[in-house]
Amino acid sequence: MIDDLDEPLARRLAALPRELAPPAALEERVVGSLRQRGLLGGRRSYLRWVGIAAAALVLFGGGMALGRGAGTRPVAPGLRQFMLLLYEGPGFDAGDSSVAAARVEEYREWARTLAHRQRLVAGEELGRPDWLLERNGSGVAVGPTGDHADLPTGFFIVAARDSADAVALAGSCPHLRHGGRVAVRAIRRT
C-alpha cells in the first residue's frame, strides 16, 4: 500500500530549511585534502611557468632560428643529454603574487647561465591535468592522477659530460631552494 503524503505532514516537510552554512574550517579542510592529492593548486604553478616560458622565448629567440626540438639548440660538443624532472612535493613553496616576478627572474637567470655555457637544450612546463593510464583487466583505465600526485610539473634537458656533471648542474637549480625536488635522468638514444 502506498501511503500518500497528507497535507499537514507535507506542509511541515516543505517548511524545513534546505540549506545550512557549513563551518568555515570545513572549506579549508576540503581544499587542503584536494591540494594534498594534487587536485588543486595549478594556477600559481601555471602562472610561474608561463613567466619562465616567456623568458625562455626571449632567451632563445636567436637559437630558435637554428632549428626546433630537443637536440637542435647549440650545445657544447661531446656532451650527453640529461633530463631534469622538477617535482613539487608537500614542502614546495610556490610563493604568491608578491614574489612571482622575483621567482621568474631567478629561474630565468639560471636558464641564462646554462644557455651561455651551451648546456641547455630545452625546458618546458608539463601540461595539466595529468592523466594516469593503467592496465585494468583486458582494457586500460584512464583516470586523473589524484592519488598519484607526485608527478613532475616541468623539465629541463641539459647537456653534461656525465651523470656527476648533470647532478652538479641540477644542484644549482633554483627549484631546490624553494623546497622542490629535481630528478636527474640520462636520456638514452634508441
Binding site: E27, V30, R37, R128
Partner: protein
Amino acid sequence: MTDGSERPDRELVRAVVEERDELAFRALYRRHTPRLHRFALRLAAGDPADAEDVVHETWVRAVLGLPTFAWRSALPTWLAGIAVNCIRERWRPDAAALADVPEPATDDRQLTGLPDRLDLERAIARLPAGGRAVVVLHDLEGYTHEEIAAMLGIEAGTSKSQLSRARQSLRRLLGRQPHEGRVDP
C-alpha cells in the same frame, strides 16, 4: 578579477579540471555546500561530525571524478548521489535497516504535541537509515523513486514501500495519524 561566484558551474568545473584552479573550486564549494551540508546532516541523523565527514569525502570524490562527469544530471544531483554513497558506506554494519522500517518504540510518542521544525528534524533523524534516506531524498529533495532506486541500489518499488512505512513512522513519532486533524505548522 572575480572570485568565480558569477561563473556557471560548467565553466568553474572546467577550470578545476584543466587548471586545478583553487578559486574556481572555492566558488563551486561555496555555491553548493550549504545544500549539501544540510542534506548530509539529515542523512547522518543529525550528527554534525558525520555530516562534515560526508561533505569532505563527497567533494574529494567529486573532484576526482569531475574529468569524467558527463553532465547527464545537474551538478547538485551528482553531488547528492556521491554523498548518498558516502553515507551508505557508513550504514554497512546496519544494512538490514535499508530493507525495513520498524515500528518506533513506545517512548517515541513523547514527541506528541511538539509540531515544530526541530521535532520534525528529530523525528526524521530517528528513522532507520534506509527510511530516513528515502524521506529526505523524496519528500525534501524531490527525487523520483527511480532516481532514489539508482542512488540506493534498490528497486523503485522498494523505495515506494520504504517511503510509505517511513511516513507512517514519522507520523507516529510526531504523535498523530493521517486521519487526525491538521497540525498547525
